[in-house]
Amino acid sequence: MALIRNPFDHDLPSADSPQVHVHLDGKWVDVPLGLNVIEVARRFGKLIPHYCYHPKLSIAGNCRMCLFEMGTPKLGPDRKPVLDGEGRPELQWVPRPQIACATTAFEGLGIRTASPLVESCQKGVMEFLLANHPLDCPICDQAGECKLQEYAFDYGKGRSQFGEEKVRKPKRVDIGPRILLDDERCILCTRCIRFAREIADDDCLGITERGGYNRLSIHPDQRFTSNYSLNTADICPVGALTTKDFRFRMRAWFLKETQSICVDCATGCNVTIGSREGFVYRLTPRVNEAVNSHWMCDQGRLGFHPIHSKHRVLEPARRVETGLFPGEWPLVLGQVAESLRKLEPSSLALLVSARLTNEELFLVQRLRESLRGESEIFTEVVPRKGQADGLLRSDDLNPNSKGARILGIGADGEKLPELRKRIEEGKVRALFCLHEDAIGAGVPEEMLERLSLLVWQGILEDKSCERAHWVLPGASFAEKSGSMVNRAGQVQRLHRAIPTPGRAKEDVWILRGLILALGGEDVGQSVPDIFSKMVATTPAFHGFTWSGLGDQGVPLPAQAG
């Protein structure tokens, strides 16, 4: 079950539906009773083209692209189905084409997805949809991933007979803070309207005018401000709804697609990172029925931008009187290791981010092991509280709080006041910030000044970075692979989409370097290697393999986490 409740799940019939026999393009197949015919076909590798149907939205039946030929069992005089030689019912075909999206499987249903009648229907609908379409594909962001283009190619006539004046409608309509509408491109499938009403609970879209002049409109007194508004750009089959953020930035076909997860909150929505030449252009939600279903929030989608900020820290460096002095990685790591080794373990504290991957946290654990003598090394994470919205967003804005807990890193931030106290009392004299800002976490600036050692590892300059004795540039979520555990206990993978900028390095590389310099055990350099080492020593992950996590992740066993 996804963490968001969809009003409809046409693709997921209830587990107890009995199986029925359905005649699909000449073959009898078994499917659950009540399964949507588009999904029946999909399960057997056939596409019934469709625009308005969406598995998670109510059925509108307006595009007429999914027309198919329907058969029903022929009844004999006794009102019982007539059986053929093999004991299968003989079918009679309904002369009128039916819409697949509003038909569900029943015993003896016949489906023809490609008969001459069906093809004629598809050609007709495509011709109608294209008649008044502006065909501004060359300047349309949807080009390359446009269902109108795709179906025109696969099911269209190839040539239009339309020789009249096209209907003109508004373009570049500003309907919300993050989204723009082009009414001429809109095919009036009402997916966006239904999404806004049924899922985002922001019923602000509708249709105005009549007939061939129909157009999608926003309620005159409203803006589409929902934090989920950009999902409509994803489900819009054409380029009618575009995100202001991605509009005109990059042609879809140039984008490299990397499967990963969103790190903006503990939900961990599955995403596809669209990048090109070391630059991330967009995140789009990736279907995962155990997590985000088809959706993600706008905040998470647009949250990647700071990774390309000019405040990225790009060089390993040591602070000298005149400022930061860049160094070579091996030297820097050696010197940081040396400084750490010299410390009394109890005088060191680690301020770790719960935004790190399990593998990174595992290396933090290892680093701590190689540094500790008799006494524990104080470790804490920084909590981030937001507001749960009842949809996807969690009140925990750290994407891997569960992983940190499992790996014994910190105590959900409860010990932060104690860290401050320890520094104040002079018990802690060295601090290692991993992707966290100590000042932001409540340690006053003047206390940081008192420290004899402040090591900072992270991506964006912050106040702690400005005071750090050592600065180690790490990687953003898009630049690394690894795993995280979301709020429901799903262990999911991130994949590296782009290289780290400048001389920044992946955090596992940095941490492994420190461990090796400290004479610790080598846990390997690849994330899968580190993952298997972690699994071996972490009971909660017992039995997990890196490749076994797959694209959709694996839930923790019930008692763990």
Binding site: I59, A102, T103, Q161, E165
Partner: protein, 459 residues
Amino acid sequence: MTKVGAANDRLAEHRIILRFVDEPDYTTDIDCYLRHGGYEQLRKALSMDPAAIVAEVKASGLRGRGGAGFPTGTKWGFIDHAKNRKPVYLLCNADESEPGTFKDRQILYKDPHQLLEGMIISSYANRAHLAYIYIRGEMAHGAQILERALAEARAKNFLGANILGTGYDLDIFVFRGAGAYICGEETGLIESLEGKRAYPRIKPPYFPAVLGLYLCPTIVNNVETLCNVKHIVEMGGAAYSKIGTPNNTGTRIWCVSGDVRRPGYFEYDGGAITLGELLYEVCGGIRDGNRLKAVIPGGSSAKVLRAGEIYPIRRKNSEGRLEEIEMKLEDLPLDFDTIAASGSMSGSGGIIVMDHTRDMVECLNNLSAFYAHESCGQCTPCREGALWMHKILDRMREGEGRPEDPQQLLDLADQIAGRTICAFGEACSWPVESFVAKFREEFEAKAAAKEHERLQPAC
């Protein structure tokens, strides 16, 4: 029952529904209605079992007068009262917007209580406690008349709680449309009544009798249909079924407009007179001594019939055997079945007559303008097709026709009919299909009228 009109007795009208409407002293007051025996059938009906009324309506053979001619008793039988736990609603479709049709308004404006009596009986028969009259937006005065009639009926306890002491409660409200033809389509009507855009619903699953108003079982009937119920209660289903011909029982109100000398509305038994008799004798023939060219027999959505056509009609003969006979246009008896057998339909009873001076491209363009304007635009083929066909016809009319236009029109009509959400798809494509097929030479002549530079197709 009154016989009005023509000299020839066979051609005299048989007015049941319109019996009093045109009498000089007949008013819309409830007192006038009561003086004419009004609400007597309501008393009778309320003493009957609701199921018995449904049985009478079934026995009467009454078919819907809204256009599709669906058997009313069968429709009422769809609700299984033993299982149903939801409220039942009865809706009177008074949206009458089909071009060529002006029968319901005679009743609404001149005899509102007859409709109310029919509705109260029908509501009782269907166990509805709330009913609405969905009246076309343009009939503002009609709505006022109905409001007044409702108030009168309430004051006399024909409506409200415990009607006439029988324990039956019912109220009826008037709901005015905002002027869209599609609000007459029953599921569009329901959406509109719910306060939404009148987008017709997909069927399945939204059959009104199952998932109608507020997703409850709902009966939608035409004004004329509901009025007939009163007379079925009065004379009994069996007696009613003897009026007209089998399967075409009761009377029908025919609305004649266009190129005849005396257009108007006329009530006859089903199949009692022929089209020729109606046009040439009742309506005084074609105007100005012109010749008949074409007839649309059942509202603008019906396929056009061309003068001089001969139709092979299959029908049961007097011995009940199926036979096929040939019939001229003028000899078609006015009923549901024969007109359907001629390839058209008697639909809403709107008969539109065109004489030989009419330009068929012009006529079709007029109709197509209506359909392009009235398509609700919900589903692709109708939204795009209706406007496209109109644009072609408009261009042809302007003398900018192209040789491929007639075939293009046929192709487009073919891509719409049978593929849409509601029957508007057929309504907008049947006229095009039939006009172009039957008057192809006129369309071809128009298409070739002007040698002109071919436009490059715009896409």
